[in-house]
């Protein structure tokens, strides 16, 4: 029998894999936190979105600066000379977490139930968060990617 946490993990894995495959043509493979080695690229970029209804919570996407650059290049195909690399990376990460959150909520709640998302925000470094959070790790084309989930999502989606 699938537990709420296993069900949430499965839905997160699906939402992340589908979003990266569709938008960046990159394969995101879930890995155990035991398999995650500390990155030599210590600068982290993150994007976060609040889920406002039917439960309150947050989803945060974290990538090293190097990986964020690769994701941006994969999505845009080429660098916009007029835009700063950081701005493009933040924008790409924000749209990715927005899309992941939408896919996840659509999978977690009954079809006739509405959900509401906030506007994504972005930042550099380790994001401040709650103590009650779960991290999900992915291998993205040889790089480590992390999704941090905070909120009562495991109460959803067992129907």
């Amino acid at each position: 029998m699938t537990t709420p946490n296993e069900n949430l993990a499965e839905k997160i894995f699906e939402a992340v894999a589908e979003t990266f495959e569709n938008m960046a043509f990159m394969e995101a493979v879930p890995v155990s936190s035991d398999d995650v080695e500390p990155s030599s690229d210590s600068t982290l970029l993150w994007s976060r979105i609040a889920v406002l209804q039917p439960v309150e919570g947050e989803l945060t996407l974290l990538a090293s600066e190097g990986l964020a650059g690769e994701i941006t290049e994969a999505i845009f195909g080429e660098t916009d000379e007029d835009a700063s690399p950081d701005d493009m990376a933040f924008d790409a990460l924000a749209e990715l977490i927005n899309t992941i959150a939408g896919r996840l909520m659509a999978e977690l709640i009954p079809q006739d139930q509405a959900f509401e998302l906030g506007l994504p925000e972005t930042g550099k470094g380790w994001p401040q968060g709650s103590e009650e959070e779960i991290a999900y790790h992915f291998d993205l084309e040889g790089h480590k990617l992390m999704i941090i989930v905070q909120g009562e999502f495991d109460s959803l989606g067992m129907g």
Binding site: A94, L96, N98, A101, G102, A114, L117
Partner: protein, 129 residues
């Protein structure tokens, strides 16, 4: 030549939508981009568009308010409005269609999901040619 306005507060999303539109047959279209509903109305003030593609969740003016403003305008109300959002569900889709949305698609879109809803729009373009 069709004129298409794409509204999303994310430049990544606008680029991605445009790329999908190009692939499904709108490569020759003239595009204008906006970061929110207010900017779309500014763009449409000078010249109507053949289609507006909009996100829902945007600052300043969201996609639903933009849709209502377009459909309430005698000058603009024939403009097809396609909504592409990460927050779609049947209830919201019904509401948007009640307000006159041509279709509502969930992110992430792809050329395969876009093509069927644009079939009529593209047929009209061929007829015009």
């Amino acid at each position: 030549m069709k004129r298409i306005v794409i509204a999303d507060d994310s430049g990544t999303a606008r680029m991605f939508i445009r790329r999908c539109l190009d692939i499904v047959g709108c490569a020759e279209a003239e595009y204008a981009e906006a970061a929110n509903g207010k900017e779309v109305l500014e763009i449409l003030k000078d010249r109507p568009a053949d289609m507006v593609v909009t996100d829902l969740n945007m600052p300043e003016m969201n996609g639903l308010d933009l849709l209502k403003r377009i459909k309430a305008s005698p000058r603009l109300n024939e403009t097809p409005v396609l909504v592409i959002t990460s927050a779609a569900n049947p209830e919201r889709v019904q509401e948007l269609e009640r307000w006159g949305a041509m279709a509502v698609l969930s992110k992430p879109i792809s050329p395969a999901t876009l093509a069927p809803v644009l079939a009529e729009f593209l047929d009209n373009e061929e007829d015009a040619d």
